[in-house]
Amino acid sequence: MLSGWFIAIVATAYLGLLFAVARFGDARADAGKSIISANVYALSLAVYCTSWTFYGSVGRATSGGLSFLTIYLGPTLMLLCVGVIIKMIRISKAQRITSIADFIASRYGKSQLLAGMVTVIAVIGVVPYIALQLKAMAASVDVLLDHSGSSVEVWGLDSTFLMAVVLAFFSILFGTRHLDATERHEGMVAAVAFESVVKIVAFMAVGLFVTYGMYGGLGDLFLRAAESPELGRLLQLDSSRAGTWTALIVLSGLAIIFLPRQFQIIVVENVDESHLKRAVWLFPLYLLLINIFVLPLALGGLLHFGGQGVNPDTFVLTLPLARGAEALALLAFIGGLSAATGMVIVETIALSTMVCNDLVMPILLRSTGKFVEKRNDLSGLLIGIRRAAIALILLLGYIYFRAAGEAYALVGIGLISFAAVAQFAPAMFGGMYWKQGTRAGAVAGLLSGFVVWLYTLLLPSFAKSGWMPSGFVENGLFGIGWLKAQALFGLSGLDEISHCLWWSMLANIGAYVAVSLNSRPDAVEASQAERFVDVFRFDARNTEARLWRGKASPDALVQLLERFLGAARARQQLATYASSRRATDWRSLPADADFVQFAEAELAGAIGSASARVMVASVAQEEDLGLEEVLDILDEATQVRAHSRELEAKQQELEAATAELREANERLRELDRMKDDFISTVTHELRTPLTSIRALSEMLHEDPRLELAARTRFLSIIVNEAERLTRLINQILDMAKLESGRAEWTTGEVDLGEVARESMASVEQLFREKDVALSGDIPESGPVVLADRDRLTQVMINLLSNAVKFVPGGEGKVHVKLGTAAGLVRVEVRDNGPGLTAEESSVIFEKFRQGGNTMTDKPQGTGLGLPISRQIVEYFGGNLWVESAPGAGANFIFTVPLPAPEE
């Protein structure tokens, strides 16, 4: 059914669709309505899942079991470091970074040497990875055609070559469609996101088909697998491989940002930092989903084809075909095609930018200065170089594929590539967080790491493929035992990846740190270090302006821009820049440091920071700033920053102080109001007895013939009210003394039992008059506390007279109980009176608030007894409270702490 031509047409149609998506994305970007949303960004990150994932995961799972998962755990963990990635994005935006090579070069003084080195490492590391994609596509076509029994060979060229040509063609269309050479490609990102959707749909469709169509679900598959000892092993975590797991997690975590295509997508193509927040969970979710069916597919394939020698890497295709599901197989093929093309397109675009900006341009600029000067518009040349680079990289990939074939060098290449790009990590992270890192250090680190990688990983893989003698692996270089490529210095027992990662990182980080500490940065390096490490606080405009001194002609700068960006784009950018400086026309702007900075940034977006620096220097007469001078300026900037921080801190202090003052004022106002209320209440309390006294004495005075009975009655009331008045005044003064802390205390050893007995004796008369029973439960010689005897007696009498006031005459009972517990003396005065509500239980301790609320039992107290008693008890470190409920009597309790036992 599936003829070669049919497959070719479907594949081409699919690529056409991709192209339409990309066109749409570009058109929307041009119209200013970007379709790059957080979801699109997150999906485009899945360009990480190549055909190595699509076909290879299943293959890995058939031999390594669950270890395939590490490749997806690393990225998930890395993405959790949102702060690091945000910083990378912020720096890249500020510096108009075009690639990872540009990033590293720019940080270390816009170094062409470093840019070139990173580019070379990336190309060497990644070309075999591209070859792997071609191999996967070729293999998938073969599987489909074998099945239908026909084959495709056009003009004597094999299908893989055709595939490479088509891919080169599409990559050129995607990545270098624009004539203006800028660093971002929204259409490409849209297409990649679309491909991510296609590949996950295809993979899950196959997974569902195999798991539920061919077998009875996940449970069934795992049960059957567990029955076979061979397959059961795949389901278990192998602890002896823990070292490998760690290495794989670290490697894949680094790869998710340092593979050129990943850096391109995550950092360069990012349009909005906030998109990252979505990607942080959406991308790991994507990885989880695409991995769910890996193990079921591996087990299903092994069970189905057991012993038939079917390549596990092709299970995704062969399983549906085995059941005649050709449409599904075709969908799987399209999914694999998506995975491979997505990777190849983004990778070649990223690499071509690096090759163009960081290898070709420097050479062109140096060797053929005149040639460059002769051309007016160089933007066409830039595009041309990139297109050639894309074609060349794919050609290299194809050649490698042809040469390697089924050899080991191809199968293991995914991880070998990861290990290569991991070498960028020290220079990158160091550059972002460590100002002392220098260019010399970065060069030394990269070089050492790369050499170790070459010797311990890439060359041994060549040797295993039989391309070179394997003596250096088996016996060590020149027969020296500790130079064995995969057991350096006798470190054996590790797998090759862990071994390489360990030694290369040791060499890389060691050289980077050691050389950095022993070398001095030049002026440009020092200022770039500042801009990178302090990107979040760098006061750009001000400091930039002072870091450049010289003379430039605006015409020469504009000419430079027009030549590299193309006239139209140059004018557009100039207009935007002019309006940002509030000028109507760029011609009215002086060619000052800011203008030069703008021009250099624009150029950097097109040709990379290192080349841009060289070009700007060629048209401007620049005054070299010495390192000391640059450091002074940066130091000053730091000081200004420190001052403004100090100022901010001062302001905050001031605000805090103001708030405190306001609060204090509020408190004073509240106190004033309370005092006012207090005086008003005191006045009221004093006026009440005075009213009776005045009215009655006036009447006595007016009418001397008043009959004797009335006279006696009035006089007795006057005497009582006068006593009440005296008591009230005494208590108010007492209270005031207690509250202000001016009360006099005579503290000594007091026998509380004695105090209780004496108090009870002194109120005996009151109780007898009202016929209330008073009983006590007090030890013979009571507990001794340190307190004021008279004051405690005052408290006791107050509680007792309150009690007798409230209990009913005749059947009233008051009981006093005294005991010690937990270092406290506890005195209880319990009555069988009407009791108190919960609200009353707390208000009675407030000044002038009395219990009882009807005229008949209006108490004769002043409303100050309990507050005073509480003050006294609290003065000695105790508490006074009441336990009561309406109808259940009241139990007033106070405690006084026992003196601490003497040693």
Binding site: S680, T683, L690, L696, E702, M855, K858
Partner: protein, 123 residues
């Protein structure tokens, strides 16, 4: 027919003195010792004038005054507020809610009698 006065206060000694004072002047007297009782007595006793204390349990003098003034049938009833709180705001409040006079404690018996007589038109 002698005029009727209702005395409302929660201090028994003040009630005793007011009662004695007003009886001596020939008024007919009734007594209440809280706000609720005051409203009940007003309904049964139908006084011409009320001597009304402000700070009382159950219902304050202000509340009693408001309740009485809400009934248009009692528009002729005279209300004299008696209070130990002499702040200006309280005086203003008492007059605003419809009291006819506001007397602060302690008061002069002579002045109070004269005031009451004037208000009742028996001077």
């Amino acid at each position: 027919m002698s005029k009727k006065i209702l005395i409302v206060d929660d201090e028994p000694n003040i009630v005793i003195s007011l009662e004695f004072l007003m009886k001596k002047e020939g008024f007919e007297i009734a007594v209440a010792c809280d706000g609720e009782e005051a409203l009940a007595k007003e309904a049964s006793f139908r006084p011409d004038l009320i001597l009304l204390d402000v700070m009382m349990p159950k219902k304050s003098g202000f509340e009693v005054c408001e309740a009485l003034r809400a009934d248009p049938a009692k528009a002729g009833l005279l209300i004299v507020m008696l209070t130990a709180k002499g702040r200006d705001t309280e005086v203003a409040k008492g007059l605003a809610i419809g009291a006819d006079a506001y007397v602060t404690k302690p008061f002069s018996t002579k002045d109070l009698v004269a005031r009451v007589k004037t208000m009742l038109g028996v001077a």
